[in-house]
Amino acid sequence: MGASNGPRLSGIQKQVLSLYREFLRVARSKSGEDRCQIESIVSAEFHRNSNEIDRKNFIYIEYLLRRGKKQLEQLKSPDIVGLSSLNVGSSQPKKT
């Protein structure tokens, strides 16, 4: 808790923040509405994982980092214009 230097970040935290930053940079290269959508999905995904995953679960975090890097590479392609997500769990059929 250094007031002037800010919190000390571990190596893996720096990697996560750097990946997040790169995602936001790529989002800038896309056009208006797509950009907003990419930003909100990426932001939600990172925040959700940061709350749900135990900070000591390095193996899983490293897996997510690798997966994120692959998705980032795909998103960097100019042919890819947007990102969308599908929430399967919440779409439970209603009983009538």
């Binding site: 800010g6 923040l17 997040y20 930053r21 936001l24 940079r25 925040h47």
Partner: protein, 135 residues
């Protein structure tokens, strides 16, 4: 006009001589070369200083307004001395978003190792005010 032409020719000769003898201390022309080169360099650096460093209070106002516009922040809590995590209740991911928003506001890219150090409004203002590319 004639003076301008002469000056341009003079500068051009010196510029082309740069790659040929960058470190050589021998020869009668090095003295002339270094005087002219220093004059050119001084002219460029003073122009750069005058044209690009932003006024600190202006930077501070703009940083505060960027942070106030951030959706997760309570605008009434934002002061020029606020710390992102301790005072505004943001996490490290939100801090990344704020630094990215500052990049867009000031029109230059902040490298990762610098961005990781920016954890309060004061640090952001200091960094941006000392950065010649900030607009």
């Amino acid at each position: 006009m004639a003076a301008r032409g002469a000056l341009l020719k003079y500068l051009k000769v010196n510029v082309t001589s740069v790659p040929r003898n960058p470190t050589s201390a021998a020869g009668g022309d090095t003295g002339l070369f270094s005087v002219a080169f220093n004059a050119v360099r001084r002219r460029f650096s003073t122009e750069e200083v005058r044209g690009s460093f932003l006024d600190k209070s202006e930077v501070s106002d703009r940083v505060v307004s960027v942070v106030k516009n951030f959706q997760k922040v309570d605008p009434s809590k934002v002061t020029p001395n606020a710390h992102f995590q301790n005072d505004l209740g943001l996490d490290s991911l939100d801090t990344v978003e704020i630094v990215m928003a500052l990049e867009e506001e000031f029109g230059f890219e902040i490298p990762d190792n610098e961005a990781d150090k920016i954890s309060s409004i004061n640090l952001a203002v200091d960094f941006i005010a000392s950065h010649p590319q900030a607009k």
